[in-house]
Subunit: 614 residues, 2 copies
């Protein structure tokens, strides 16, 4: 357990794959230590104490010391023969190559996705056609719309059958100002914009509208390239942090509902404008928009009634894809541009989940996959045997850092990771600012560390016997940071209970899906974790507390903002919209409110799993 150990007196070159970082190891450093020092990310929940299963690597070249007793117990003989080790247990004794396992790389994957160079053959709903429209003459005084359509259909037969009314209103002016050298932007036979013929991108927006954040990608529809992206806080949060509060607000009056609508639309417009300006574009050039959001955000955006989303059986007004003029929603774009909203699945499984399933290829997935987006409600789909089964679990606010003693949202100064290193507590804060609170991923880490350190029992009881646990307000609590260097950041008994409720709901949700399909946990071939929170949690911690099933970590993938990616796919490739619609339509939704076995599974899943499963 102790890291103190004889080691090579001089260092060695260690090359980490993937990434190819070339790092000089210092004497008595484990491979994990070397990696950390050099900023090479290897997941580690237990802080290098050999307690957990996160820092798995494979030594593909070069000599390392023989496996520790701990690793001899941890790995099978075959795995050891294949040079699998835990980085925290392994010391190099010469230059070597170390391959970081998929699970240990889990977090870096996030940034890959955030740069989101998903490739898809561009096949957008909207296309640009440069054309020369002849002027009217006395001999041929044909109308402006007629001459435009004749020119378009002359060059590309069948391209155009109608012109949006707003476009028509500006067409005479545009044609004359450009002497007929224009480009028509056409969507399924309808001219939605006519602009001076100029080289440049044809911008579209992919919008992921979440309860807390709104993410916007500005994409060039001609080639599918993301030109820029930005996230902003959903300004509706001023009307309540969660969907239930917002449903209540929206129900209170039509004006309030309109206000919530206006806030979201305003934020989208502001971000879009900034993104456009950064590319020397204008919002009025945006030719197409795809939106994915949870059902409540979706309904508020389209001013659909939300009251039935707030009461059993939680029925959505709409789970079909919506295509509507952007101007009818208030989103600034090309005069005739449309907004396409990806179909919702159910009252608490929105288009963002559909988009996520689209992004991960849920429609042609042949493996047995659990895909989940963790939040106040956690949407989970089980893909098995070509079928999709979906639920939504009330996982509560704890995992977003809310209803937690020192909880906060992801922002500078939030503790985002916690590691116990012997008696030491290592915390990492967002932007390395002085710790001021703890956010969702830190909450999961803290719970896992307290449990793994034996400070919390399997039933979730915090010990009062350990000197590290102090009592305040009748609550046992653990000090994460502070002690005069800043505000105390603690994690207490109530916080542990809140996490138990959250992780219990998620785990029970997964269990219900498995039961419904007659599957056992180990038959899950992949667990895909999407969304902002899911992107930042330490999977090993989540497994340690029993939130996620106890599977080899390689089976987990954190895919980041998959809803945004799905929205982008649907933006760049029209056929993907049809796929999304068929994913939503073919998904079978299980309403947990009516499911007694969910409650039973939930009670079981609130306990923590055994600490050592080997």
């Amino acid at each position: 357990m102790s890291r103190a150990r004889e080691s090579a007196v001089t260092g060695h070159w260690i090359t980490f794959d993937p990434g190819g970082s070339h790092v000089w190891s210092l004497p008595s450093e484990t491979i994990l230590d070397t990696a950390r020092r050099a900023g090479v990310r290897i997941a580690s929940v237990c802080g290098g104490r050999g307690l957990c299963q996160s820092c798995v690597v494979r030594v593909t070249e070069g000599p390392v010391e023989p496996p520790s007793q701990n690793d001899l117990e941890f790995f099978s003989a075959e795995e050891l023969a294949n040079s699998w080790r835990r980085a925290c247990q392994t010391f190099a004794c010469g230059d070597c190559h170390v391959e970081i396992s998929a699970r240990a790389r889990a977090v870096p994957m996030r940034s890959e996705v955030e740069s989101e160079d998903v490739w898809v053959r561009p096949d957008p709903a909207v296309r640009l056609y440069p054309v020369q429209v002849p002027p009217p003459t006395l001999q041929n005084p044909a109308a402006d719309d007629y001459r435009l359509m004749a020119a378009l259909n002359g060059k590309w037969p069948g391209t155009c059958s109608r012109i949006d009314l707003d476009v028509l209103r500006t067409l005479p002016g545009t044609l004359r100002a450009c002497e007929g050298r224009v480009a028509a932007i056409v969507r399924f036979g309808e001219v939605i914009g006519v602009v001076p013929a100029e080289k440049g991108p044809l911008p579209g927006l992919a919008v992921d509208i979440g309860t807390t954040n709104i993410g916007v990608l500005l994409v060039d529809l001609r080639n599918g390239r993301t030109l820029a992206s930005r996230a902003t806080e959903n300004p509706q949060t001023s009307h309540g942090a969660d969907v239930i509060t917002r449903i209540g607000k929206a129900r209170s009056s039509r004006e309030r509902q309109k206000q919530l609508h206006d806030l979201a639309v305003g934020a989208i417009n502001d971000v879009a404008r900034e993104l456009c300006e950064g590319q020397s574009l204008a919002s009025a050039q945006i030719a197409d928009i795809v939106i994915a959001g949870n059902t409540v955000m979706h309904h508020l955006l389209f001013e659909l009634p939300v009251e039935h989303l707030g009461a059993v059986p939680f029925v959505a007004a709409s789970t079909s894809a919506i295509d509507v003029k952007a101007r009818d929603v208030g989103i600034r774009a090309m005069p005739g541009a449309y907004v396409h909203a990806i179909a919702n699945i159910a009252g608490f499984v929105g288009g963002d989940h559909t988009a996520m399933l689209l992004a991960i290829g849920g429609d042609h997935e042949e493996k047995t996959v659990v895909a989940l987006d963790i939040g106040t409600n956690t949407e989970i789909s089980l893909i098995h045997d070509g079928r999709l089964l979906t639920i939504s679990c009330p996982s509560g606010p704890a995992l977003e850092g809310r209803h937690i003693r020192c909880g906060m949202r992801s922002a500078p100064g939030a503790i985002e990771s916690v590691e116990f290193s012997g008696e030491q507590v290592r915390i990492k804060t967002i932007e390395n600012a002085a710790p001021i609170g703890i956010c969702g991923s830190g909450v999961v880490d803290a719970t896992a560390q307290l449990y793994l350190a034996g400070l919390v029992s399997r039933t979730g009881r915090m010990t009062r016997e350990d000197p590290r646990i102090r009592m305040r307000d009748g609550q046992p609590e653990f000090l994460l940071a502070g002690e005069g260097h800043g505000p105390d950041v603690v994690f207490n008994q109530r916080d542990v209970r809140a996490v138990q409720l959250a992780k219990g709901a998620i785990r029970a949700g997964i269990q219900v899906l498995l039961d419904e399909s007659g599957l056992r946990e180990e038959q899950i071939e992949q667990v895909i974790i999407a969304g902002a929170f899911g992107n930042y949690i330490d999977v090993a911690s989540a497994v340690a507390i029993g939130m996620l099933p106890d599977l080899p970590l390689e089976r987990f993938a954190q895919v980041g903002n998959a809803a945004g990616i799905g929205a982008k796919l649907a933006l760049v490739s029209y056929p993907h919209r049809a796929t999304a619609q068929s994913i939503a339509a073919s998904s079978r939704y299980l309403e947990l409110a009516g499911l007694a076995r969910f409650n039973r599974a939930f009670m079981r899943a609130m306990r923590f799993p055994g600490r050592n499963r080997n």
Copy 2:
């Protein structure tokens, strides 16, 4: 020439067909006199003096006196043998049946059209589907839109693929208020309204929006029956009586253009509301709307720029059919209802002309037909050999009673017809009110009568030698009414000149169409006169002054508000919309502004034709 003549001492029963009126003739009455006394309409331009060719009838049964010398010259031997006579020249000498010829019935035809029981197989764009939508349950908490679509498509496969956003917004409330017993109104797969399932009409609007008047028909789309109709003044007239003035106003500022739009829409909404209320319906039940208007009215309604309509080569922004949500135009209807605007043909040949051509079956017309709508601009189409050739002539305001000394629009007290009966002047005013002015049809009559009486020369010069002509302000003028019984209503030299300009333009227009097609006047098999003014003019008078070609009067038909009928056809029968579009698209438009031969024809056509053509 004199009406004084021996006649049967006692009277006889005269039955007039069509109509079947049974009238007792008085001694020395001509058949025309008898008809007039009984209110049976037989056209007569010359006031029964045997000068003209309007009052042609056929005596199908019973004895009449032998033909007068005049009729012996007027009719061929064969026609006489077939009992053709002029009513003003014929005396019954026993009970008889008199069939009134088509041309002599011309005016009554108008009212037939106004009651407009045009028959068309109902095939509307919009249909109503009653359906029972099951409530959501915990076991099946499907969204409201999903359950509605499933119920619709279950009962009528393929009916419904999407729901209008405004409908979606009210769908949850409607479904629950009606316990799922609703009717969906569907337009090409899109649900545009959901209402409680109740028996009742499915109302639609056919709107004919003219420069002066707006006509609205409320139609039951299920069976094509007109439920009610009403016309109202186009309130834009406060911004100018003619399209040129309105173009100027609209160009002056965006606000002014918006104001013109709002005025027209407001009027349509007001009339529609009244019509609906009369049927215990609400505007919000209107399921479909078809609009036909001249190009300027059309552009103002849709807020399209009109500036290019006001300058050579008079180019429209749009001559395509427009389909747009009624709410986007401001017309009150069912939440998702559309407005369909019938395609324009050119800058000065609007959708009203297209609708007229649709109403008269212009697309499958095999005869050589001239169809015209007389107004400040007169739109004329020549249908020949399956082709359509169209022009618009600047016929000016005289025929609408404007720019005429005592001119006024059609309103109570306007002289609408003028007959010289020997030395007597018989006038008829609208609603038989005391004469206060003269409207369009009176203007044509007055000109014809003055010319036929020899008071105006072929070149249009009013004689100064006749005691009936007096001088005022250096102008020769003829007193039509007044002499102390009310204000003087006169018709003067300048009025004659104004009529010459108007009728010359129309006649020249027809001539240009004939020339362009290599046809002679007598090859025209039918002249169809549409529109409010054309409906009220005396065709014989119009022929007498050379406004219309000198053809047998049977070849003329006054079809009343054919634009409104066309709009109704397109409303009740969707395939007719495609026909209208193809009529508009296939029509070849001749712009007169560039046509020297129009000016030559115009100079010739300003003269009056010979007085006696027999």
